[in-house]
Symmetry: C2
């Protein structure tokens, strides 16, 4: 087994032998599932089907029970399905979203398909204090609020809430928001490139309504991105709260040790 | 109301007036919740209690029903509690984890408390193919596997599965893993700084066993970090699969438009 020779440091006192065995098996299943999920998500099974359980057991030195439990974990995540008489097939794809460069969704996913945006609502609102504060405008000054459900080839990917100062937002009202990233429109309107964005990423369980809009199960894990984007001259111009479906997006990047 | 003047672009045909109203209210509640959650998470309520519902309604131009629904969303996320006769109080804190620089957990959270690591298991294993491939070693060669539950001031933060080539891992077996980041130990063992790490971040619903280990509800959203860390000379030395409790960690960084 994968972990046969692993010294186990805990749980040997108070727990029963049976409970201890269950824990060990669950630990091994998680260990195996993490390795398999990487293969699934990075195209390690190009024909879309996983090897048979017995082959996986040999490859990963894991028992049949551990293999089954690991595959169950991937199934619960919605990454694979187990079809009787066929085996285990890949059913979900996560699209990579870069953490190395500031890009709009259509730009980011250009190679993967067509992004379309359903504008759920759009119009001026008086900026609430936290919005005014971050955009550097007077509290209560008008901002353009835009709410979009974004899809890739028709599949819901994210629900985006966006606030933009009205001097720029006014020009957005007439723009083709259904087919164009706000980033690109802001660069066209201002005649200057974007500069940088401060981002926060969290994992959050979707509330019932957000899940319904994203056509995902209630409680589904969403990758929540808050992003304040600035023009090249430093002016903050775009505050966004974005819920990505966790089962459809992964963020990738490179961190360096030295500053 | 916050969104009174928002033109609504969808849902006016097939849906009934009542369903449309419910949708609008849910949309407004999410909008308000996103603004309040930022205040909650960034210390916007330093005494730990939120303003009264009526005051929030005035501040955010929202109806009492919308305020209540927004506070319910934050409560479901575990960020606030609503105490009868007291009001709404902040009950959770998320700790910031940088995306701008490669750092270990204890380094990252130095200002926030003491990180301790419960080593759940540790020992050599034959490297499964995906591990060998990423660490640049022969398939089946031994690697050190370490599984740790990491806590901040006693509170579970993350469950980390770590693979390290055995020539470096052998020295780790005798090290103080309970109180020291693996990053720091690797730098001490190799005599050189770490260089960079390639990371992937996802939002995933925790399986029952992982949730239990993290002392979180089943299905809780976890921030899943896969990280392959290299030494300054480019050698890959540390492959990790990390599940952060979504309610306790947020990742923050800065993206730039130009490369």
């Amino acid at each position: 087994m994968l972990t046969d020779r692993i010294r186990d440091h805990a749980g040997q006192g108070a727990t029963t032998v049976a409970a201890h065995r269950r824990r060990l098996r669950a630990d091994r299943a998680r260990q195996l599932a993490d390795l398999l999920r990487r293969q699934v998500l990075t195209g390690g099974y190009p024909d879309g089907s996983l090897p048979h359980e017995a082959a996986l057991g040999t490859d990963y030195r894991a028992s049949r029970n551990t293999v089954r439990q690991a595959l169950d974990l991937l199934r619960a995540e919605g990454l694979v399905e187990r079809l009787p008489g066929v085996g285990t097939v890949v059913v979900a794809q996560k699209y990579p979203h870069g953490l190395d460069r500031l890009m709009g969704l259509a730009e980011t996913l250009r190679e993967h398909g067509q992004v379309s945006n359903e504008v759920r609502s759009m119009g001026p609102v008086a900026a609430p204090a936290p919005v005014a504060d971050r955009l550097g405008i007077a509290p209560g000054a008008d901002v353009l609020y835009i709410e979009r459900l974004r899809r890739l080839d028709g599949l819901p990917l994210s629900l985006d809430l966006t606030y933009i100062p009205l001097d720029l937002g006014a020009d957005l009202l007439a723009a083709d928001l259904e087919n164009t990233d706000v980033f690109r429109l802001l660069e066209a309107i201002t005649g200057q490139p974007l500069g940088h964005a401060d981002i926060t990423l969290e994992a959050v369980n979707a509330d019932a309504h957000s899940a319904a809009v994203l056509q995902a199960p209630r409680g589904t894990a969403v990758l929540m991105l808050e992003r304040l984007t600035h023009l090249a001259d430093g002016r903050p111009v775009d505050l966004e709260f974005i819920r990505f479906r966790g089962d459809r997006i992964s963020m990738g990047g490179r961190l360096r040790r030295a500053r």
